[in-house]
Subunit: 87 residues, 2 copies
Amino acid sequence: MRATVLVRPKQGILDPQGEAIEGSLRKLGFEVAHVRVGRVIDLELAAEGPNHARMQVERMCSELLANPLIESVQIRLDGEPLESPAR
Amino acid sequence: MRATVLVRPKQGILDPQGEAIEGSLRKLGFEVAHVRVGRVIDLELAAEGPNHARMQVERMCSELLANPLIESVQIRLDGEPLESPAR
């Protein structure tokens, strides 16, 4: 089963990469604000159905993929829509 | 208007970060394969409707956010679903 994980800096957490991109976009003439940069991780995993898959991906997030203190996570399995706002 | 841009390494392009994460996940006992890592960029932009917004974001991608030789891009405006597979 394929899964996509979006890892973003939480609100209030500094994001120097986002600030740099925002500055560059403005210099190029774009009217942008609140630029934030995170990671997207695509993977394929062995799982017995979507519930098991989601549990596994959640464990991957807490053990390796994200730092829950400063990052929020969104998980999407296969073709399903992204779950509601980042926790 | 809010936009989300997913920038991923194209198929066939080496992704050392993805390989490192895949190795670490396997060492932790997860059965994963084809792990790929890209960037997610969230931003707010001034635009006169969704068509104008999408055009602007596409220009941002080609001028700064992505390298079209090695990266593919997916754009999502506001709450709309992600457009079909990365180009």
